[in-house]
Amino acid sequence: MKTVQNNNTVSAVSLSGPLEFKPKTSGTIPRGLTFLAVAIIVTMLLIILGNIFLGGIGTINWEFLTHPPENGMEAGGIFPAIFGTVALVILMVIAVVPFGVLTAIYLHEFTRPSSKITRIIRVAINNLAGVPSIVFGLFGLGFFIGFVGGGLDSIFYDNEGPVWGQPAIIWASLTLALLTLPVVIISTEEALRTIPRELKEASYALGGTRLQTIGRVIIPQALPGILTGAILAVSRGAGEVAPIMFTGAAYYLPYLPGKLNDQFMELGYHIYVMATQSPDVEATKPILYGTVLVLLVLTFILNFVAIYIRSSMRKKRATV
């Protein structure tokens, strides 16, 4: 609206009579239409969240969170699925964070942005982020279980039945680690960009080597960004189902995973199983809703924390 006023003042001052400019359309219609798009998206989001919240809140209590499923998943809780999800993402974070951070450091500290290697690695990262999750599942099955696991079995166990060459939590978490690698790299890099050059120069001026500078200046300074990356990776990893369907997740297990080559139950996969394979959908519905709510709350809390850390990091950069 401001611009329209500008036009008027211009025409009033310098142009008069026939040259007076009148805008053909006001901005109301496009403004309204594009706002409608926002409104529809927000409404859909609210419907989804509201529905899941109202449907699930009644089920959630201490019993539900701490007990295993009973009676063909029509009763009991989801503790094994929560435990499995937590174990899965912990293993995943252990695997993904070092590689993600070191990749970001390499890209930012060791090479020039225009160099060929940097560009190739960047293309690889972007493409990795775009590979469909089911393709990661196929890869986990073919590479981790078939090639690595099967290889270990034939070297160390003389192929006496599969020990490592079978679906297991370690293979599922490594598959997810590859899937979330771009997330960690991108947020670490964002943090690296905020580190003032003077800090690094000071370290070098004091005789610090490259490795010392990285270990004592760069990584500590980038810690909020690394943390953000790890949290976002957990949030993403906890919700993915397609990559773990064939690499380790189980319909139902009477025990909790205790070894790296055990199978495990997982929240997202549990939702899929209950929603599609249950003999009596109506009977499992309360538990299904409750599980969805737990997964959603978990994901959102992680995201809020990540957004908070990131925005305080940006504010800090703005003041530096």
Binding site: L102, N127, G130, P132
Partner: protein
């Protein structure tokens, strides 16, 4: 001279320095090696389709692409029935299902995603923008299995009641949920492209007498168009590759129908639904990995293309051509 030697690193630290740098260098190639390994190991399992005569008997490239006469005296046709007595591996029904679902998703997500991006970058006040962006991020954070759950349990019943549909689970239902997954990508890329249009362009067209909507639709929108189209293409890639939503919400019938009210089966959902029961090393197994290879190659091409467009656009807008 002797004084200088005091400042030299001891051999042990020098070795540590060397080792550390090498470790960082090697780690940096994880992403690249990962992408290569994904392609190699998925394609490796699909290779028997081209080389193994026994498997070709069941599922050669011909059999997947062209119409086949499966029973004597019947018309040749496209059919995906890998578990029937005469296994049929025509990819055509899956192709139809995939395109159909992705198109519905795009019809739903493109206007909403771009509309919201225009509003956010052109019309919204700073404060409103600070609300819109996290809301979209929230939408992006919803796990796809939850969107699938929503489409399967709630949206499907709603659509069936409102539209009076025969099939509860259908392509429309899955497509809308897929659209919700694609909106954040389209929005983010398009918004980013429009906000990176230099302020001077806006100021210039305002100075020439354009009003707010003329500035955004005749100056900013065309300038950002490559970026906006890249967003649409990347969103399409996401819709094609997305698995859990279509697996849960589309009904998964491998039929040849162009109606969005019929069920459909996509490439990704086929892999997810059938890989669990397949015999290791069978023709069916190879075909599923072949589907995976196709998905990988397709999304790879889309991402590479989208990426190149975005990089070039940024350079152009920042005047570094």
């Amino acid at each position: 001279m002797q004084d200088m030697e005091k400042f030299q690193l001891k051999p042990k630290s020098r070795f540590r320095e060397y080792l550390g740098e090498k470790i960082i260098m090697v780690s940096a190639f994880t992403a690249l090696i990962g992408v290569l390994l994904i392609f190699v190991f998925i394609f490796k399992e699909a290779v028997p389709i081209f080389t193994d005569p026994e498997i070709q008997e069941e599922a050669s490239l011909d059999k997947m692409v062209f119409k086949q006469q499966y029973y004597e005296g019947r018309d040749p046709k496209f059919s995906w029935q890998p578990n029937s007595e005469v296994p049929k591996y025509s990819l055509f029904p899956l192709f139809i299902g995939t395109i159909k679902a992705a198109m519905v998703a795009m019809l739903f997500a493109v206007p909403l995603g771009i509309g919201a991006a225009i509003y956010s970058s052109e019309f919204a006040s700073r404060r409103v923008r600070e609300i819109i962006k996290p809301v979209i991020e929230l939408l992006a954070a919803i796990p796809s299995v939850v969107l699938g759950f929503f489409a399967l349990i709630i949206l499907a019943t709603f659509l069936q009641n409102v539209l009076g549909l025969t099939f509860r689970l259908n392509t429309l239902n899955a497509g809308i949920a897929l659209g919700l997954a694609a909106i954040p990508i389209i929005f983010t890329v398009a918004e980013d492209a429009m906000t990176s249009v230099p302020q001077s362009l806006r100021e210039a067209s305002t100075a020439l007498g354009a009003n707010a909507w003329q500035v955004s639709f005749m100056t900013v929108f065309p300038a950002a168009l490559p970026g906006i189209s890249a967003g649409v293409v990347l969103g399409f890639g996401r819709a094609v590759g997305e698995t859990m939503i279509v697996l849960m919400a589309s009904g998964n019938a491998a039929i040849i129908s162009t109606s969005i009210f019929d069920s459909g089966r996509t490439f990704s959902a086929t892999i997810a639904a059938e890989l669990g029961e397949v015999v290791f090393g069978s023709a069916h197994y190879s075909v599923l990995f072949f589907l995976g290879t196709l998905l990988f190659v397709f999304t790879f091409a889309i991402n590479l293309g989208g990426d190149m467009v975005l990089v070039r656009l940024k350079q152009k807008l920042q005047g570094k051509t």
